[in-house]
């Protein structure tokens, strides 16, 4: 089997890529995609730990399912917010959505 460390590093890499997307993307949808990547990295971690550390109990998979649920809800609400903001302010660029600024 593939060593656990590989999975963890891959997941960490995916997480970092997602984080970079969240931090550097101008477009709100791009930010959302970054978040999805991060959540996926978390899931890979959970499943890898399940498979390697506690293969007899399904805790890891159960948690992954909950993460997926949350991701689905988050995507729906996030995109709804983006669409609403787009309608009101004609932009999906995060930097321009700053009416809360000082």
């Amino acid at each position: 089997m593939i060593p656990l460390y590989w999975w963890l590093v891959v997941a960490a890499a995916l997480f970092c890529i997602g984080l970079y997307g969240v931090l550097s993307r101008k477009n709100a949808i791009g930010v959302l995609m970054g978040i999805e990547l991060m959540l996926n990295a978390v899931n890979v971690n959970l499943v890898a730990f399940w498979r390697y550390v506690t293969p007899q109990t399904l805790t890891g998979q159960v948690f992954a399912i909950f993460v997926i649920t949350v991701a689905a809800a988050e995507a729906a609400v996030g995109l709804a917010i983006i669409i609403a903001a787009y309608r009101r302010r004609d932009t999906v660029i995060v930097d321009e959505l700053d009416i809360m600024r000082w």
Binding site: M1, W7, Y20, V44, A71, A80, I83, D95
Partner: protein, 171 residues
Amino acid sequence: MPTNVVQIVVFAILTLMTLGGGLGVVSSRNLFHGALFLVLSFAGVVGYYVLLDAGFLAAVQLLIYIGAIAILILFAIMLSRGLMSQRQSQRNEQWWIALLVVVLTFVVLAVVLWQVDWPVASDQALASPSVAISQLGQELLGPYVIPFEVASVLLLVALVGAVILARETET
């Protein structure tokens, strides 16, 4: 357990898909392409799950991430099309700090993960993971029934919230 060559090759391909897709997501200028890269990355993760003997999760990943979330994102991109001209930069001005931070984070994580001695289960346990979906169902409706119900409430709330947010304001 011995490492199978086929497994390594498959893992490498999947990693290429996943991380390559991820990089595509954060670097492509065309947002639509970014979303397609996201799909590629999700597909890689599906493969990961299959490789990790989590068939049910693989199907769920396919169904929800590719079948629902990615399509939703593509849809949103098409709805807001024409705003983001491809000539203008897709990165904000802090991207280089972000890159620095992210690379540092990765290095730290990789080092830490390497140093930890993970309590990997015995070979015997590794050889026979519990993969029955019925057991998953029992777990979800047994010990995890409260989180399960909370998740259902969350989905309902998200559904209603998304509808209200995205609805045209009737004025």
